[in-house]
Amino acid sequence: MADKISILIVDDEESVRDSLYNWFIEDGYHVDCAENAKKALSIVESKNFDIILADIKMPGMDGLEMHRRIKSINKDSIVIVMTAFASVDTAVQALKDGAYDYITKPFDPDDLSHLIRNAAKQISLTTENEALKEKVISLENIEDIIGQSEAMINVLKEVQSVAQTNSSVIITGESGTGKELIARAIHSNSSRKFFPMVTVHCGALSEDLLESELFGHEKGAFTGAMFNRKGRFEMADGGTIFLDEIGTISPKMQIELLRVLESKSFVRVGGNKEIKSDFRVICATNRDLKQMVEEGNFREDLFYRLNVVNIRIPPIRERTEDIPLLVDYFIKKYCTSMSRDVIPIDPAALNRLKEHEFPGNVREIENMIERAIVVGNGKAIRLKDFPMGKNIIDSSVESLDELEKKHIIQILNKYTWNISRSAKALKVDRVTLYNKIKRYGLKPIKE
């Protein structure tokens, strides 16, 4: 989106132009600057801008007059006026004249980015509607979701269709199936993707922490609060809030949650302003919520509010055909992150994996592969690199130190004891590597 949107900054102060220019360039927008209204008008005559951010008080022609003239050249431009505290009245006049919004200098970084993203969203909605017919159905940002089994394809189809809506979603699945990845896929394929996805691990939040965590607080709300703190619901404004382990929340928290979901508003701790937030809710759980409702441990009204769409992620034992893909993916991932060559897996080892139950699901496969790469010989992954490949005699538990030592020897040998290259491959500095060599008493083996 951002790469198609152009912004013109009009301000007589160079430091303001420079700062905003830098800020928007980093956001991926096309940016131009003008130091006065006259210059701005001549730029606008030769080029269309989606958003024009103009100071209201400038020598020569003021922002208000400029705004009127810009609108007569390009009525589709979104004009946002910048003002100092003293000139809020003028800003209000600009709004009456059709400016999109105004913002008071100096701005809170969050207000600025919110304002621009909202404006950009409006622009992209118009162009999206125009381009609807050409829309290619493909999911973006799902690099970590691996699977070609029918069960997984169906999940992805559901992700795609639900992403286009605003409905609440509950994602169910055993632990380790990748519920957060699915939530992220929904978010990043929705029109909310330019706004945050905020994750709350409900299981980790105590009731006391809850208020400030979810609703935020005002500067000075209690001793030591020097700055405002935004709560999770506010952070998710425009985006998605992902409530993981929703089944663990207390009855009191269930009521609070229901209230926020219904009103989409709340007050920061120590504040008195009602804050509205436009968020979408995605929840995840490995529990049977329906049963919890029947047993009286989860509020029925909350359940129905959350459970508009239910996506169930199948466990690995229901999609064993995906195991080779997952194995390949994690080998590539970990070899790359450990700066090693990507190695193959022995057929015997792969066959054994295909028979394994994987009660810990995708996460278990991932951990197993990572470990196998660390302990292995660096040429191929063998059956004996997996815990289940070890026979009973070889059951002595290797300590982490032994693993580390083995791994360091392997890397040192690979780089013929070149310390700099080995340190780089191990991602430690040279001093650390020297210390470890000393500690383990390692020496190059002369062949």
Binding site: A2, E13, S15, V16, D18, S19, L20, N22, W23, I25, E26, D27, G28, M82, K105, P106, F107, D108, P109, D110, L112, S113, N141, E143, R184, H187, S188, K193, F194, P196, M197, V198, T199, S212, H217, A221, F222, T223, G224, A225, M226, F227, R229, K230, R232, M235, S339, K424, K427, V428, D429, T432
Partner: protein
């Protein structure tokens, strides 16, 4: 990839092992040698008494004029509250596709928000800001992946939501840009 390196300059009272740890992580994220050194600049001249903050634009400009030319990315590490004229505060900023950036941990401290101090969290946040600003010097723009370190974060809680790492897309992009 061009032969490059990263230089971290400390303008605060950071412990040496704190800096060493940061340097180590930055090196593994960008696969480049990372050096750190003490500040050559007096920060007081950048203090703005009306805002009671330090001018991030002026610091960045000055640091850039002192920066090594060529292939070293210089990042200044601060402990003071930074602002730029249009914004109430910044965590850091960088010259896009340039050689210089700055980052401060002032607003990253839990204590500023009335929360319990958390050294580990502070360290993580600072590292994310540093990697993020360095990413800009390499020419990366903000990323929409919810967990990518290049995602834009305007509140400290936003920083906590992302990883310390570049996502696959940004990593590929940085390699393309550096070719």
């Amino acid at each position: 990839m061009k032969k490059q390196s990263i230089l971290l300059i400390s303008f605060g009272h950071f412990e040496n092992d704190f800096l060493a740890k940061i340097a180590d992580h930055i090196a593994s994220e960008f696969l480049l040698p990372v050096q750190f050194e003490e500040n050559p600049l007096e920060v007081n001249e950048f203090y703005d008494p009306t805002r009671r903050q330090y001018d991030g634009n002026k610091i960045l400009k000055k640091l850039n004029s002192l920066s090594l030319q060529g292939d070293t990315k210089t990042l200044g590490l601060f402990e003071v509250d930074l602002f730029i004229p249009v914004l109430t505060y910044i965590f850091g900023q960088a010259i896009f596709k340039g050689n210089t950036g700055i980052a401060s941990l002032y607003r990253l401290k839990n204590e500023q928000y009335g929360m319990k101090p958390d050294e580990k969290l502070l360290f993580d946040r600072f590292e994310k800001v540093i990697i993020h600003e360095l990413g800009h010097t390499f020419g990366l723009v903000h990323c929409y992946s919810p967990v990518c370190v290049m995602r834009s974060s305007t509140y400290v809680e936003d920083i906590d939501q992302k990883n310390k790492k570049l996502c696959m897309k940004c990593r590929t992009e940085i390699e393309r840009l550096e070719l």
